[in-house]
């Protein structure tokens, strides 16, 4: 069972891991959490293709060797990247990390601070809000196959942020987190913990970038959202790591009674990127919307695994993942709707649409349903196809060159999801990133 090489280096180095853990002696609960992570990482096997949750994934090229934590960046780099992180002008707060080091701590407006809103780096929150963290940090189970990577994240947990919006507070402006990788071969483990109290409203934008376009790095990020009763949480997560990065993003959301949760996952970066997005509907009246959008090019592999669990009835969830594939890219969409026995009156839907723009691209779909209650409306749909030749002809007949026409139609295909972001500046950023992919390819 033990798949870890005995003499590991970098993130596989036990001595290095425990030396870093020792720094948290003053917060022993956190040190224990990291230690638990290390133990379960070592006991868990590396995933194999034969494992149903890794079906179609290229598990042979999965490797954790040769990635190590990196030292703090130089001031010059920090300055430059902080400047490049000013993406959202009306941000309620901005936090910036480089190689796992917080280089810009958020400063909240006095009003938000007075309302009790917490938006802090994980390092600070460990010191300031241990009770809150003990209750919520890494409490969601990982159910989509990435247990080993989640365990490694826990073992090396250090950077990230905590957002807590207390009962009754509504914040319209987004909280923004920008995470960079800079050093070649760096391993980063960004964490996002979002806790929205009863009857609150909050929006979060998470950007994941590499300082250099062909950055080699390992990124294992985890985002846990606890949406309280009647709260509204909107999250945009942008995965734009460098083209030689292996990334894993493990998102877990719990929706309480009457909560409204929407998330948009946009992906353009990484050599291989795996997204695991699980939502557990725990209260009646909850409404969950999950959106995914990507343009995969070159030899990229985007591996998307989603889970909509309905543990309570009278709730809704809807999922739409759209992928455009160029070059030799590959996307895997595996989605499951699970309706538990007592979750009657559930409406759960799931749609995956893939647009193949190259004969060498491959789109795999594994849409699934497990329904144990009878009074439900559930459906899934998956399509994979090309651009309608009639539409292409229409544009060409009006003098638009083939390549431009294809790009326009593909962008039109993606626009449906972009419309769900709900923040114009953010939409423009994502749209531009998607557009650039057509020109790299």
């Amino acid at each position: 069972m033990n798949a870890v090489a005995p003499a590991g280096t970098g993130v596989l180095d036990a001595a290095l891991q425990s030396a870093e853990t020792a720094r948290y002696r003053a917060h022993d609960w956190f040190a224990v959490l990291r230690q638990q992570g290390w133990h379960s990482f070592q006991s868990l096997p590396m995933p194999k293709l034969s494992h149903e949750k890794w079906r179609f994934s290229d598990t042979r090229t999965l490797s954790l060797a040769d990635y190590a934590p990196a030292p703090e960046p130089t001031e010059a780099w920090a300055e430059l990247l902080i400047a490049r992180s000013q993406l959202i002008s009306d941000a309620a707060g901005l936090i910036v990390h480089i190689d796992g080091h917080c280089v810009l701590k958020p400063s909240l407006s006095p009003e938000l601070a007075a309302q009790g809103v917490i938006f802090e780096s994980l390092e600070d929150a460990i010191k300031h809000h241990p009770a809150l963290l003990k209750e919520h940090l890494l409490k969601h189970p990982v159910g989509l196959g990435g247990d080993k990577f989640a365990a490694l994240h826990r073992a090396w947990l250090r950077s990230g942020y905590v957002l807590h919006v207390p009962k009754g507070v509504e914040v319209k402006q987004p909280f923004v987190s920008v995470t960079w990788t800079l050093t070649d071969g760096v391993a980063v483990f960004p964490h996002a913990l979002i806790i929205s109290g009863e009857q609150t409203q909050a929006a979060v934008h998470d950007f994941h970038f590499s300082a250099k376009p062909d950055q080699r790095a390992l990124a294992i990020s985890v985002a846990d959202i606890h949406a309280g009763k009647g709260s509204q949480v909107h999250r945009l997560a942008v995965q734009a790591w460098g083209s030689a990065t292996q990334s894993f993003q493990i998102d877990n959301t719990c929706g309480g009674r009457d909560s409204l949760i929407s998330s948009v996952n946009a992906a353009v970066g990484s050599r291989r990127a795996r997204l695991e997005n699980a939502v557990r509907v725990e209260g009646e009246g909850a409404d969950v919307r999950l959106y995914g959008i990507s343009v995969a090019s070159g030899e990229q592999e985007f591996d998307q695994r989603t889970l909509q669990i309905h543990a309570a009835g009278h709730a809704k969830s809807d999922l739409l993942f759209k992928n455009v594939l160029l070059g030799k890219a590959r996307t895997i969409f595996s989605g499951l709707i699970k309706v538990e026995p007592d979750a009657q009156h559930t409406d759960a839907f799931q749609t995956n649409r893939n647009l193949l723009l190259s004969p060498d691209a491959e789109a795999d779909s594994l849409p699934g349903l497990e329904i144990e209650a009878n009074d439900v409306k559930c459906s899934h749909g998956a399509t994979t196809g090309q651009i309608d030749p009639a539409e292409l002809f229409y544009l060409q007949a009006r003098g638009i060159p083939l390549a431009t026409a294809q790009e326009l139609l593909a962008q039109g295909f993606l626009e449906e999801v972009l419309a769900k972001v709900g923040h114009e500046e953010a939409v423009a950023i994502v749209r531009e990133m998607l557009r650039q992919k057509f020109h790299q390819a």
Partner: protein
């Protein structure tokens, strides 16, 4: 008018409801390979059947493959581990030879099939019938004119012995022995089944039928079927299955291979109504060459656990594959069915329509595979799966896997889960139906467009079966 009369006659012909199947006769077998499976069990079967050495080698090799493969419980249900391979009887026969006149059939066996309506149905509308009782066929007859045309309809032993030039080429080729654990098991101990050859251009208008019957407790039935439709030939084959209710679990594990050569059409219809203690683990796959068509029409009503995913390998240009599937899972039943479409040539199309109904604590599962590799263009697949849940604890799962590359290929997949709406039931009850009748009617409506695809006599029977199954499911 005559047509109506005829169809009514046919309606009475194929009687296959569960209560009809629930009887058994004394077991007095001349040949019994004993309990459990070893190399010597296989030697015994080979000896009794007088098979050639290459078949013995094939079987022995398959046994090793079977033993080496793990149970597929990493994706399939844990219920599979309840199969006790060491308690099963792998070969039982009365030493009978398949006879060609009904009068020659031994009395108890004859009664079995008469109660199931086999001879009448044959007289009425079938081009040929084969009836299998445990391991061997007891009766096999085909209309003479077909024989004159060169149609072959026999069992695997006779097929491989008398027509090796036809059957050996494809035997074990569409489904290799190592395809899965149960195809390996079948390859080791197969006995009975139909080997059919339709010569070039021959179109058999009336269906050929086989009837499978398990009579002995703890018995495993492993029939093997290979149907070859030569260029431009057409054939429809129907099979039905029953077994009495035993105390202990029984295993049925068949391998069915279809070969449709250029321009040929094969339609394979199954109405599976095993009793609720049969593990029904069947591998079915067809190969369609250029312009050929393979169509599986599959209805699963009986058994404890059915795992069956009929597939079509679309090997030639413009080949077409279709799976129409109905599954009904009641208390204690798990219908794990689906379809596989492997596109391997340009311009191929496939269609899958699966409908399942879960009643009581029944569970139905759809698993599908659609594969279009990158070298291909203009391939199309359409998949629709609909599930109907009747009671609070009914369960359904859908697990399709779709993999697409290449140019101008398109696939679409849709699945939905619903229940019979209270409004529908209310509407019908207002018009004087009781709740059970209303539910039955709604369920029949749900599967109606698929039931229509079955031959008349089967579709009528199916509707009746569904009604029976729905009895007492509400209220």
């Amino acid at each position: 008018m005559a047509d109506i009369e005829e169809s009514q006659a046919q309606r009475e012909a194929v009687e296959i409801d569960r209560s009809k199947g629930d009887f058994k006769f004394e077991e007095n077998y001349a040949f019994d390979a004993g309990i459990g499976l070893t190399a010597s069990t296989i030697d015994y079967i080979v000896k009794v059947k007088g098979e050639e050495e290459w078949i013995r080698e094939f079987r022995q090799k398959a046994l090793k493959v079977f033993e080496s493969l793990p149970m597929p419980t990493h994706w399939a249900t844990e219920d599979l581990s309840n199969i006790k391979f060491e308690d099963i009887r792998y070969y039982l026969s009365k030493g009978q030879k398949a006879v060609r006149t009904w009068e020659e059939v031994p009395d108890d066996v004859k009664q079995t099939f008469e109660r199931l309506g086999i001879p009448e149905s044959e007289r009425k509308f079938l081009a040929g019938v084969e009836a299998q009782f445990d391991s061997e066929a007891v009766y096999s007859r085909m209309k003479e004119e077909l024989e004159k045309l060169g149609v072959i309809f026999c069992g695997p032993t006779e097929g491989l012995r008398d027509h090796p030039e036809i059957f050996r080429k494809y035997f074990g080729k569409v489904i290799p022995m190592g395809d899965n654990k149960f195809s390996a098991l079948n390859s080791a101990v197969f006995s009975g089944g139909s080997f059919i050859y339709i010569p070039k251009g021959v179109k058999v208008n009336q269906p050929l039928q086989a009837y499978f019957r398990i009579n002995a407790e703890n018995f495993g039935q492993f029939e093997r079927t290979l149907i070859i439709a030569d260029e431009g030939a057409e054939v429809t084959y129907m099979e039905g299955c029953t077994a009495p209710k035993f105390e202990t679990a029984t295993l049925h594990s068949a391998v069915v291979e279809l070969v449709a050569l250029k321009g040929a059409k094969i339609q394979y219809i199954t109405v599976q109504n095993w009793s609720a203690n049969v593990f029904n683990l069947v591998t079915k796959r067809g190969m369609a060459e250029e312009d050929a068509e393979v169509r599986w029409i599959d209805c699963n009503i009986g058994s404890r656990l059915t795992m069956k995913y009929p597939g079509v390998i679309l090997r030639g240009k413009r080949a077409r594959g279709e799976v129409l599937s109905i599954a009904l899972a009641n208390d204690g039943q798990h219908q794990d069915t689906g379809a596989k479409m492997i596109h391997a040539a340009d311009d191929t199309t496939s269609n899958i329509i699966a409908k399942s109904i879960s009643v009581g604590k029944g569970r139905s599962t759809y698993r599908g595979l659609v594969h279009i590799p990158k070298t291909l263009k203009n391939c199309r697949n359409n998949t629709e799966c609909d599930a109907l849940l009747i009671n609070e604890h009914s369960r359904t799962d859908t697990y399709p896997a779709i993999s697409v590359r290449g140019q101008k290929n398109s696939v679409q997949h849709e699945a939905s889960v619903s229940k019979v709406s209270a409004e529908q039931i209310f509407y019908m009850m207002q018009r004087g139906l009781n709740e059970g009748e209303a539910m039955s009617l709604a369920v029949n409506g749900f599967v109606n467009d698929l039931v229509k695809e079955f031959p008349m006599e089967y579709s009528v029977e199916l509707k009746r079966l569904i009604e029976l199954q729905m009895e007492g499911s509400v209220g």
